[in-house]
Amino acid sequence: MANTHNPDMTPGLVNAYEPGEHPDWPAPSSVKGPAHWIKTNLFGSVTNTLLTLLTIYLLYKIIPAMVDWMFIDAAYTGTSRKDCEAQASGACWAFIGTRLQLFIYGFYPEAERWRVNLTAILLVVALAPVLYDNVPHRGKALIFTVLYPLIAGVLLVGGIFGLEYVATDQFGGLMLNVIIGVTGIAFSLPIGICLALGRQSHLPVLRIVCVAFIEFIRGVPLITLLFVAAVMLSYFVPPGTNFDLLVRMLIMVTLFASGYMAEVIRGGLQAIPKGQYEAADSMGLKYWQSMRLIILPQALKIAIPGIVNTFIALYKDTTLVIVIGRLDILGIGRSSLADSKWQGLSTEVYVFVAIFFFISCFLMSRYSLYLEKKLHTGH
């Protein structure tokens, strides 16, 4: 960039030599650099120029007002809405601040919240070897990853090893979204792979079962499945069995995502040329070997955008648990609005929840781009 300002290159000199005569010179500023980029990309034609100006005008109208409301004219401390209004006319973040614990932990007992924090830290440890393959001692770390769901369950629910028992109806807030989201994501991918392979199987019974399952899941809204899980499932299990409501929800959300996952992966499988199957077969690889070593690595790579799409949709769908009476981060926000001290602050709540979801989903989408780049092998 800096070399566009070459002192030897006066504008008149640009045409003083034939192109290619001075490969040692930097390109003239008229074909390179930020000025050129702006000229060709933003003001390349009349329509382009009008659109650019219109966009700049809209941004000018929106951004300063938003920044003003969110940061400059916002109140960060106080114990009621009146305190906020006394300080500033913008956002009242004191409302979120005083309830932050509730937003994160729900009704999890205060004295036990370190368990939630520990579970979250261990989650990062468990995810690292899955997300990055240059983690030291990856093999051993993956064993921990496999054991993690069990460890997390014990830590959060307790009741053994001297940990106090915490009923799952006390789970709430952000923690609930993360628990459901991560469980759904972790289990829907392998189940989805099995369903996709089953759907392509030569064994008719297996194929029909898989197709029926996938079509059923895709034909029913998630809310319906959650109601079924909450209300109807107790008819199907023997009386007296206490099948935890949260576990039922986890199962439903996972199965729901698996159905979609299966179709996304089937798309990837169909993109693999027949020759890959034949080459694997002719080598003498067994079915599962050729799937694991040859077909799935390629099919999953192709399916990454769709897979991450499904993950993100699942993650946002975790807010639906409100229909069966569990308060996730959005539910906590909505119920907070009923507090008479803080009435009328719904914008702050929804902006806060939106920011939380945006950050989580944006990270997922960035990671998927990183993964696609890493797996690109020039074919």
Partner: protein, 263 residues
Amino acid sequence: MAETQTAATAGAIGSSKGSDDIIQIHGMHKWYGDFHVLKDINLSVKAKERIVICGPSGSGKSTLIRCINRLEEHQKGDIYVNGIELTNDLKNIDLIRREVGMVFQHFNLFPHLTVLENCTLGPIWVRQTPKKEAEAIAMQYLERVKIPEQALKFPGQLSGGQQQRVAIARSLCMSPKIMLFDEPTSALDPEMIKEVLDTMIELADTGMTMLCVTHEMGFAKTVADRVIFMDGGEIIEQNEPHSFFDNPQHERTQLFLSQILAH
């Protein structure tokens, strides 16, 4: 593993009249739906024999060699490979496939693995060779096809001719007894055909049993012990190359040869 193989071999040889032919096909038929692709194929191949199969497109020559390693299923007749009968028995199919290497028209390298990984995959997973040893063997074969320096690249970074040579090396890494070539040069640019044919000629000189479906008549003249002409799903004529090219017996063979040797 070795025991089962010997047992299977012994059992099969008894039923195949104890001959030393490495491939035996008797009265084999194949249909695609109603379409009769292969009609009453009888073929015996001796160990170390080099056979070139030619014929117009759609004559069933590719299908024939793909029946030998069960990429295609035959419906009638029987096939013995290395003394083992090809049936629906998956164990037999696996035993045969590990002794039969195949090179495809479109290379079919695994694009997500490096050249070296392509070559070691079979030995490691099918033959349970330790990784270090498999890599040493793979490097030997990559040297033989003259591209050891590409070992750590991905197939997508190589030219067509290089990819096909990798595919040949990949098959050889499994130390097969038989090599099948399914139009190995048909998808290549003309300037790359020679490098692949040279590799195949060298391989022929090592005494490998080879069945090649190809239109490269020069190759057939140089290395083949026998040339087979197929048309309409039948073996029309087979002979050693001299007589085959200079003195074709059958009318359809004469027509075919006149067409492909015309220019």
